[in-house]
Symmetry: D2
């Protein structure tokens, strides 16, 4: 239960509310969101035993909110767009396509990827500098060097970048180089990381955990939002099931089901879900048809030589074809996918 | 391992092949498919210990096939369309939309449904006469009376019908009244039923089991095909996962993954997967974008009064809107969804 | 909702009840269980809109029961034992161990298996005559010949037998040869089969479906019980999950969770769950410790030569060791596992 | 692929090995484990294209190891015990039972829990100071104050303590107060945290992720081992499936399947898996029968008042009964569960 105080409420008013709640055996935590204080209540009896009606009628109380994730909740309102950098938005009329390699491997690899995906219409460059690998013996990413390469290529191409952060100690340094900070599926419930991301002003791309329910995803977003960072973008990337024909099972029902519950934008990552480049196109098209606000797609200049996830990366030519195909589905969905006037740059096609 | 004999092979040739195989400790079963005999071999040692090379070089042997489901397998060939009734096909250029109520409840309910879905562009009427319900106390379908109502409405509207059969003893009587016989998800591996369906000449709509892998689905189809019935249509209808936001998790990757492996058409049932009418439209659009050969959608003249699955049925008006929306996605997918010239018949909209 | 009428209720009383219910827009079905009539109600509004209080106070009505599976439900009562043949029970103080080969292959194989498992303390012989195989090309069981071999070996050894039936048309002929009829996991919701099994007087061993919830398992049992056959034995045999270290994931929490809800006995099949003979012993011991009423275990005279499920069958010697080990766990669980005075018969150990 | 160098190998030898590998297009990483250097190789072609035979025959190379987790792998050897504090071991003949409250709430609650579980035979006190909660509004643990209470109660009772750490920045301060550091299921693949835990000398209790395969669990352990910390204890705590009768599905096959692959001890947490105190006892008994090296059980002086996980905590009296019951299963399993001479201390039973 969340007690939203009015902006005019004083410290004394807050203390009164907290005392009222604690006298009923519950614990309280206070948050400041925008110009208001919120008192969150928890403990045994929170579901039903305590009648909050009296509290809701107090002068300094705006409302008593039963939603488990009130900041992420859509309520009856519109969905809202999130601003990336100065002039890119996600969650509005235009679809956002982020593309690029799984891992940053070298300046050459990253620059070729960036020019290729930009030429085909991607507006955001993806690339991992810190890679969460199952094995300690696998390539773990170039780290800080990778961040610097992303910043260099960002400067040269004008493409904003999204990259993963796994370590709460690195949030500031990643935020310095990247426009969007990604939380990977395996870190969706990494609370110290989510808290650090709540402190910064960069948008956060939060991937759904492999076995996370939609409520758990929204509660993870709520950690960031409750920290004060209002820019969270959700991403469906496949869940773990018994299915063995794909790496994960892409759950496209999550797109409309999330959009019904939250105002946050929802992207889809068809590449990690499929784990197989031949399935990326149909799943990407399906995601747009299901109403996704955009996609994040793996593209590599020479997919078979990729240092990680080689099976699922698209070559630049295949990505350019995908973008043309997506434009048709975007139109059918009543969305826009603005493509460059000319086709992909010939010289960068792998 | 399957030994395909040449059409010219004699009974003596077949005996020779069987003896060769059985002398190596394996068991054999024989099938006739078209103009050829196939000898299937099974038993310990089938994977690797026995070298079939010598057999493959025999004069009367066409080829030795390692596919687990050679009749369903696409091989390198084209996908093939299945003919329903005299002039309806599925798996070709045109998308097929089947629609209608979960259960046949009455002449009035069924006729209203049929006229409404036909008016909106559906080409096949769905409706259950025998319903596989979890509870013995739930409505089990009208049975034979339901079949007769389907036949009546089929005659009046000209719409062919698809209906479920659960009992091998009823295959002939259902085949008498229906154009397509449906095997429900809970019966996907009901072997006696699949065998009976292999004997008839009606197309079979085979739904994926709740926890079936794609290989298991193709092997279930192979039972029907190996019985001599070449007309099998597959259907993805959601799998069982931990997800709790929908009734089942629609696995759209199954569409391209199946189409890569089999020549059989692949439909999608968004209604049962979602269990929620608000999610039917986005999932239906996504299915078409993923390349599905068609859809099967629940429509009821008064959804809230449906005797089964009331939460997921579309009203006729919503279905007509869905069809118009789908036409755009069909075009983007390079497919056709022919719609009637005029909109849905006003008088039947619920 | 189930309306239980008193034994003294007349046909007129039943009609009154049905009219009352149908006047409120619901449908009714009638069942006779023991000396009583039950009227089952279903339809929209069954959950909440209709107030059954008035009906419950009628003179001829015993009670109005909200359980979805009232015949399987334990209520507050004791669990009940099921009688197999003349003098074997399951669900009482003694644990029941059923053992034998996956498939009946020959007289010799079956007889050797039977003497071996009986010598080690098994009280029920398992063996499949009709095998539900994923592939139409795999060995499908010896069929009627297999049933006859089971009957022969049953006569010679005195061991009652359990064997699977898949086809509703074969229920009577299987019931003629077997003491317990097994419904396999893939047929748990095969309604025509369950209905036929409700008509007979043999106990039914009902295996949990690969993706069935416990409520669905109890509802499947309810089909048999509502048909008039009071002898149903449940069996947990592993569910389908993402786990890849075993064939299925044995869900031992199902044992106490079922026993809390139902009076029916609960067995565990560790062999099919594991798919790996080395894991059978620890899972069998764990099942007994979790409170299972017995086990069903695959044993083959020469496991590596088994025609089906060769990886999971125990050799007779390993089975005898397992039984000795199980006896210790049975004692710790407050149950009895009576073992023969002497060890397994030397001459039949494979 | 891992190249284990001999202890006598020089820096020059290591460079030679790295050059050989890198000349074949692979990347290398070096680790020091004990007195040896290991060179890990990764990259495209690692599976099959490169023939490491020549390298394995070099004088300074001990062996070329294909295991994905060579430090966790059992190889053909014995399982090994892990030492906790000065004189407690896990993985040997004696079973280890850890018990205590989900969250540390107060000195009084923790001290009462500790005396109660010690009196019943638990040898390790569990209690969370930092709690990974799904919701930012739920109680997050007492943090540093909780650690201090654990240290106080540890001093008074002599019970070593296990507590969770989520934040890599807090590893040192948690290690100062706790004897075993727990990694929760949601952090199993939190790489920065695993790396920090590889640096310290305290044992790490690593819980299996909700949707982690056994290989992934062993690879997560390998991160800690490869960092130089040889003391890792694994814990099965239930996986996420479609099952709805328990909070998670306890996968007891993981116990023997892990013990076959790794020398590390394997505990089971029945409390989190069940989410229901009535199921804790049967699952705990089953875990011991399956061969678990111990248990971790939630106990609270007044379960219904617990600040977190109130449904699954045992009262002290129920825990004492469980321990007596477990002793019988331990004996049947050939293990020891040493219990205090007298029963649980009367005065601390809640």
């Amino acid at each position: 239960m969340l007690i939203h105080l009015k902006p005019a409420a004083s410290g004394r008013d807050r203390d009164d509310v907290r005392e009222w709640v604690e006298a009923r055996g519950l614990r309280t935590r206070s948050f400041v969101v925008g110009d208001r204080h919120i008192v969150a209540c928890s403990g045994p009896g929170i579901h039903g035993d305590v009648d909050f009606g009296e509290l809701g009628r107090r002068r300094q109380v705006d409302r008593v909110e039963p939603s488990p994730h009130p900041l992420a909740a859509r309520g009856g309102g519109d969905r809202r767009a999130v601003l990336i950098g100065d002039d890119l938005t996600v969650g509005g009329q235009d679809l956002l396509v982020a593309a690029g390699p799984c891992s940053v491997e070298s300046y050459d690899q990253l620059a070729r990827s960036a020019w290729a995906v930009a030429g085909a219409g991607a507006r955001l460059l993806r690339g991992g500098a810190y890679k969460p690998r199952s094995s300690p013996y696998a390539f773990q990413g170039l780290g800080l060097e990778g961040l610097r390469l992303l910043a260099d290529v960002r400067r040269e191409t004008g493409l904003p970048v999204v990259t993963e952060v796994m370590d709460p100690r690195l949030v500031d340094s990643v935020a310095e180089h990247a426009d969007v900070l990604q939380v990977g599926a395996r870190n969706m419930q990494n609370v110290p990381l989510l808290r650090e991301l709540g402190r910064i002003e960069r948008p956060v791309l939060l991937k759904r955990g492999l076995s996370a329910t939609l409520d758990e995803l929204l509660l993870a977003a709520e950690y960031v939002l409750a920290g004060g960072n209002a820019s969270v973008i959700l991403c469906e990337r496949g869940i773990r099931t018994f299915g063995d024909a794909t790496r994960f099972t892409l759950d496209l029902s999550a797109v409309p089901a999330l959009q019904r519950r939250t105002h946050l934008p929802v992207l889809v990552d068809p590449s990690h879900a499929a784990g197989d480049r031949e399935l990326v196109e149909p799943l990407a098209c399906a995601a747009v048809a299901a109403g996704a606000d955009g996609l994040i797609v793996e593209v590599h200049p020479r997919p078979s030589e990729a240092w990680s996830d080689a099976d699922q990366a698209l070559a630049p030519g295949a990505f350019a074809e995908l973008m043309h195909r997506l434009a048709g589905f975007a139109a059918a969905a009543g969305r826009r996918l603005p493509l460059p006037d000319i086709g992909p740059r010939r010289e960068v096609v792998g």
